[in-house]
Point group: C2
Chain length 197, copies 2
DNA sequence: CGTAGTCTTGAGTATCCTCAACGAGGGTGG
DNA sequence: CCACCCTCGTTGAGGATACTCAAGACTACG
């Protein structure tokens, strides 16, 4: 495997792959953050998934990618694996095949959690769940302080809300004493119970 | 593989597996329809996925299932595959390993499409997209006439809407001439363009 | 120092949810 | 056979929520 992987560093906004590109590689985020996006006919962006270090992506049963993946922060590094060659190696290496399966199963788990989150009723619940999810994924849930690597716009497109609504929900959670906010991006969880309710 | 598979027939409402059950099998719908559900703390049901003939499910990187899967219609038949044994066979059979990967990739595609659909803004768009999706999945999109196998309640929980809103959206689409409805469940697509917009 | 991007707040409106009522259809039991 | 219950589906009214439009503050960057 070591000989196959290519690692690239990207600036914010740079594309890792684009919609309709041939799906010839699999990817893993090494550091930083990426977003998997769709753009609707009306020009509205949807973020299908945030990709954090350790997340594999680019899996598809088709020949072309459906979504676009872009780096969210400067210096995001991505490992690329040539799909066909990895599959060939996996044919003779059950352990590698298992790793691939598990990476795919992880993607399924993330997406299912996402369907549940995006299906929540109120903006406040969505944003609360988002903060809890990020605390979990950024620091294994062990830390009360998180620094969001993405903008309010990204959060809005991730939660299917308007930016203003995200902003208001965060203000709301501040005023309720569930969180505190330092600067724009640093959030401290004060009352986790209130967020999970 | 032939010796490993167990096929069961279920009545509507019967569980295939339940949340927190040990994840020891993989499944495939042979006929009928099943729903993958989560129930929120507030008692609200979310349908994470509808499972149609040919859809594989039960994939997880964990030891326990997170969701519950139930038959939606009487006579739904499900094939069960013992996970460990299938994995052991796959270790020596690259073709089987490929099939598993592709089934998992299909599940990813379905879920991604779902995140996009559920993230749509208005109820009318959601219901329109739902009808188009079902036409696609029930008959490869070739047919203008579809018979919905699930209730309005199921549709509502799938789209994260209230039942009343689903009902109103369908009435709306009827009045706009985009569809016609015979009985409760049979829908004929008149103007596909109007649905996709 | 100006510009572009980000974030917040306000006001008004559209949409959807809740509560309520009602009709149709399918079983079940008397 | 019919009364009854239950689920399902539809419609209406009223209120809550989030969206749109608008404006302004703040930051980073050239």
């Amino acid at each position: 495997m070591a000989g196959l992987v290519t690692t690239t560093s990207l600036r914010r906004g740079e594309e890792i792959y684009s919609s309709e590109d041939p799906a010839e590689q699999w990817y893993c985020i090494v550091s930083g953050l990426a977003r998997k996006c769709a753009v609707s006919a009306a020009g509205r962006r949807r973020i299908v998934d945030f990709l954090l270090p350790g997340d594999f992506f680019g899996f598809t049963a088709r020949e072309e990618h459906v979504f676009t993946v872009e780096a969210v922060v400067d210096g995001t590094t991505v490992a690329r694996y040539p799909r066909r060659r990895v599959e060939t190696i996996a044919n003779a290496d059950p352990e590698l095949a298992l790793l691939i399966r598990e990476a795919a199963f992880e993607a399924i788990s993330r997406l299912q959690a996402r369907v549940v989150m995006i299906g929540r009723t109120t903006a406040r619940r969505k944003v609360s769940a988002f903060i809890v999810e990020m605390a979990q994924r950024l620091s294994d849930g062990s830390d009360r302080v998180i620094v969001l690597p993405m903008s309010r716009y990204d959060i809005a497109d991730y939660l299917a809300l308007a930016v203003e609504t995200v902003s208001r929900a965060i203000t709301d959670l501040k005023e309720c004493g569930a969180i505190t906010v330092s600067g724009k991006r640093q959030i401290t969880i004060i009352d986790r119970g209130a967020l999970e309710r």
